[in-house]
């Protein structure tokens, strides 16, 4: 008590300044450390992916064999070289193989190359694919991925956003009507989420495409695609119904159940009882006493949902013939196309790291109990 009265106005300002500069250095130091660890994590993760995607260099042997075979066949089939002697032709073949290997960088040892791959990946310099070609005919990995991105985003983005908001709001409503029939039904249905989306996809295709003939089996638009943009959108929407339903069906019940349980745990806190006793409306209780403390968790799961869109869903896309990123990645693995695999991984890693980094600050913003860099 005496201490505060002794403090002069000047000292208060200096204290505040000191505290502010303390916060600033703490935040700065924390930010630097966090960025560094995230970066190291990404570097190691991506390097591991490069090693796996190249089978520790074995993919090179496959590629070399492939080049040798292709070159030999193309030269022996080419009428221009028909008059060449066997030796001349062999020299030509060796020459071409050497050029092709140099083009793909196969002449340098893998250990060296793996680091230049890593450098390129980290600087988002994806280069050219080995075999894959985008629909527009480009071999640039960037084009191959960008071309597929919209179709993944439209399907997975839409269905996951719907899924997220529907389950959060339904869960909130259910937690209010705990023990009602709907609530019990959701609890009973939640084990159905043990099955992945493609599994529901098969059943949906069976019912709506094979038996009822009302929706297409798969694909993204009718063949040939309509010229008119409106009809095009309609056609895409029609093709989207089944995969989107499969994606939602596979997780909606579990998702509602989890959120509901989460909200229930928070709504049994004493301060919520207190608010109820004070006679606050349930709207106020929900927005101020339940949603507010659960906001960090909601934001985290939303952010993770957004970045997980990146990988798409390999199997769901395969089952529905949806031309998205997941299927491109699967095709890339089948074609040993490491640049595409690595590009997909590094983008995911960066998105994840950025999200994790930003989340720390968002927590501090929405939750006064959390301090950036504090323990």
């Amino acid at each position: 008590m005496t201490k505060t009265t002794d403090v002069q106005p000047n000292d208060v300002a200096s204290y505040a300044r000191k505290a502010a500069s303390g916060t600033l250095t703490r935040v700065a130091r924390y930010t630097a450390m966090r960025l560094l660890t995230l970066f190291v994590t990404i570097v190691i993760g991506v390097y591991l992916t490069i090693l796996i995607a190249n089978m520790g260099g074995y993919v090179d042997e496959i590629l070399k064999g492939d080049i040798r075979e292709r070159t030999a066949i193309s030269i022996s089939n080419n009428p221009t070289y028909r008059d060449y002697t066997v030796e001349q032709r062999n020299v030509l073949i060796q020459d071409k193989i050497r050029l092709e290997e140099e083009r793909l960088g196969l002449n340098r040892p893998f250990a060296l190359r793996s680091f230049s791959y890593l450098g390129n990946a980290l600087t988002l310099n994806f280069g050219r694919s080995l075999n894959m070609v985008s629909d527009s005919g480009s071999k640039e990995v960037r084009n191959i991925i960008l071309e597929r991105l919209p179709s993944t985003l439209v399907l997975f983005g839409l269905s996951n956003l719907v899924l997220f908001f529907v389950s959060v709001f339904l869960a909130l409503a259910l937690s209010r009507h705990y023990g009602s029939f709907m609530d019990k039904a959701i609890v009973a249905l939640s084990p159905t989420s043990a099955a992945p989306p493609w599994f529901y996809g098969i059943f949906l295709i069976l019912i709506f495409a094979a038996v009822l003939h009302v929706l297409p089996f798969g694909g993204m638009v009718d063949a040939p695609p309509p010229d008119n943009w409106f009809e095009y959108a309609l056609s895409v929407a029609e093709h989207m119904i089944l995969p989107a339903s499969a994606l939602m069906l596979a997780s909606i019940f579990l998702s509602i159940y989890n959120w509901r349980t989460f909200f229930l745990i928070y709504s049994s806190e004493d301060y919520v009882e207190m608010a109820k006793a004070k006679g606050l409306t349930s709207r106020d209780i929900e927005s101020r006493y339940i949603l507010r403390p659960t906001l960090p968790t909601i934001i985290t799961s939303f952010a993770l949902l957004l970045i997980n869109l990146w990988t798409g869903a390999i199997i769901t896309e395969t089952i529905f013939n949806w031309p998205g990123l997941g299927r491109t990645l699967f095709r890339a693995v089948g074609l040993y196309d490491t640049p595409v695999i690595v590009a997909s991984t590094i983008i995911f890693a960066y998105l994840l790291a950025i999200t994790v980094f930003l989340l720390d600050f968002i927590y501090a913003l929405v939750d006064p109990r959390v301090k950036v860099g504090g323990n």
């Binding site: 993760g45 099955a195 069976l206 699967f330 693995v333 997909s344």
Partner: protein, 454 residues
């Protein structure tokens, strides 16, 4: 023992847990049965077997129980052989044999009689002819007698050592039947406008002549039905009961091993990390962060494509990649609390070793949390195996549910209306997944005090 009993009593209050346990019990029983009924090597031989093993089965035939639900009875496979086998795989009729010796060789008459009481035509009609001879080939003439007394000449041919006569590919026979495919022409009611089978007793007489005393002549008649066995057949004539039955132990073993391996290893590693702390704890945390960056399914696909599709390799990689995930962080948080308990301090005071504290005092505390997680984790691994198989990365040798779905998907089962092909493994997968998920949910509510009453 008491805790176990209490757990069971608690479980009994949840109907879904009872249902789940019951299904799991049935699955385990069926799995054990199939492993004994069809030994591993036999299952592999049958699953990898080609036309030589499966020639008696029709292609893409629906299960036999279809007939219980349809008005029109679909034909089942009919087999009649002139050789009396000891233990035939499939039920076989025996042809009647009359042999009259001549000065060299014999006149052999084989009569094949069968009842045809179905409303649809069969898929295929085939004779498998076998003979032994030194120089002169035996000769056969095949006649077909319909229930209404018509006689149709099928073919006259000399018989090689082993020879297959396919009715449907005999152009001469088709011409003789007026351009109608033999499976319809031979069985159709001549008085009907639309082709419907004439029901009754059919007779095929195979008159053969052998020209040497030691020469033999045998023939097996195969009528491929539209239905076959309890589960139908696939595009390679394989009976689907084998992969459906063998899929049970494979799915259970994979799910259980992966879930148990992941759960237990995660627990031990996080306990060790928490107990020793320092750089070890840091290392575990960093590995977890790196592992979260790695694309799980892509790596599994790469391993399957590049290295090995063996289910054991995939299992190992799955466990390795699943250890360092979110689970290790939540266990760590709990262990951090447990570490500060007084009873740990007491253990330290009496001089318990680090290993003793970790395995006797730390880990048991978390087992109530581990058990529901283990059970709930099983379905995701069962489906993971199926998912990989659907992508064409299933084990190359083992018959599994996912591989049936993959075959069916690849051969357009849904487009061609062969729903049984996909539905049977899918329903089994669903039942398995649901059973473990229901049990896991109930266990979670029993063991997790925060969920009690919620």
């Amino acid at each position: 023992m008491k805790t176990l009993q209490r757990t069971f009593n608690d479980l009994a209050r949840y109907p879904s847990a009872i249902a789940g346990l019951f299904i799991i019990f049935l699955l385990v029983a069926a799995g054990v049965y199939s492993m004994f009924a069809i030994p591993y090597s036999e299952a592999i031989r049958l699953w990898r077997g080609g036309e030589d093993v499966w020639y008696q089965n029709p292609k893409n035939a629906a299960p036999a129980w279809f007939n219980y639900f349809t008005e029109k009875k679909l034909p089942q496979t009919i087999l009649i052989s002139s050789v009396d086998e000891e233990n035939p795989v499939l039920e076989k009729g025996l042809a009647e044999r009359v042999a009259t010796p001549r000065e060299s060789g014999a006149d052999v008459t084989l009569t094949y009689t069968f009842e045809y009481l179905y409303d649809e035509f069969p898929k295929d009609l085939i004779f498998y002819l076998d003979s032994t001879f030194a120089e002169k080939l035996p000769f056969v003439a095949i006649r077909w007698y319909t229930p209404d007394g018509r006689e149709i000449r099928i073919t006259d041919t000399s018989v090689q050592l082993s020879q297959t006569y396919r009715f449907l590919q005999d152009e001469k026979l088709i011409r003789r039947l007026g351009g109608v495919s033999p499976e319809i022409g031979l069985l159709a009611d001549p008085n009907s406008e639309t082709p419907i089978p004439l029901k009754g007793t059919y007779k095929i007489v195979l008159e053969g002549i052998t020209f040497e005393d030691a020469s033999t002549l045998d023939a097996e008649f195969v009528l491929h039905g539209q239905l076959h066995g309890w589960a139908g057949t696939d595009h390679l004539r394989r009976d689907l009961t084998i992969p459906l039955l063998w899929g049970i132990p494979v799915a259970l073993a994979f799910g259980l091993a992966a879930s148990l391996g992941t759960g237990v290893l995660t627990m031990i590693i996080s306990a060790i990390g928490v107990w020793y702390g320092g750089w070890l704890d840091e290392l575990i945390q960093r590995i977890t962060e790196i592992n979260i960056v790695l694309p799980f399914l892509s790596i599994l696909i790469m391993v399957g494509t590049f290295y090995s599709r063996s289910i054991w390799v995939i299992l190992g990689v799955t466990i390795a990649l699943s250890i360092f995930t979110g689970g290790i962080k939540s266990y760590r948080a709990i262990f951090m609390q447990v570490r500060e308990s007084t009873y740990i301090e007491a253990a330290r005071a009496y001089g318990a070793s680090d290993a003793r504290i970790i395995f006797v005092y730390l880990i048991p505390r978390i087992i109530p949390l581990l058990i529901p997680a283990l059970v709930s984790g099983i379905p995701s691994f069962v489906f993971l195996e199926a998912s990989l198989a659907v992508l064409g990365l299933g084990d190359p040798v083992l018959p599994t549910w996912g591989k049936i779905i993959n075959d069916a998907q690849f051969n357009g089962a849904l487009y061609n209306g062969m729903y049984y092909w996909i539905l049977q493994p899918a329903v089994l997968l669903m039942i398995t997944g649901l059973a473990f998920a229901m049990l896991g949910f109930s266990l979670d509510r029993i063991f997790n005090p925060r969920l009690r009453g919620v």
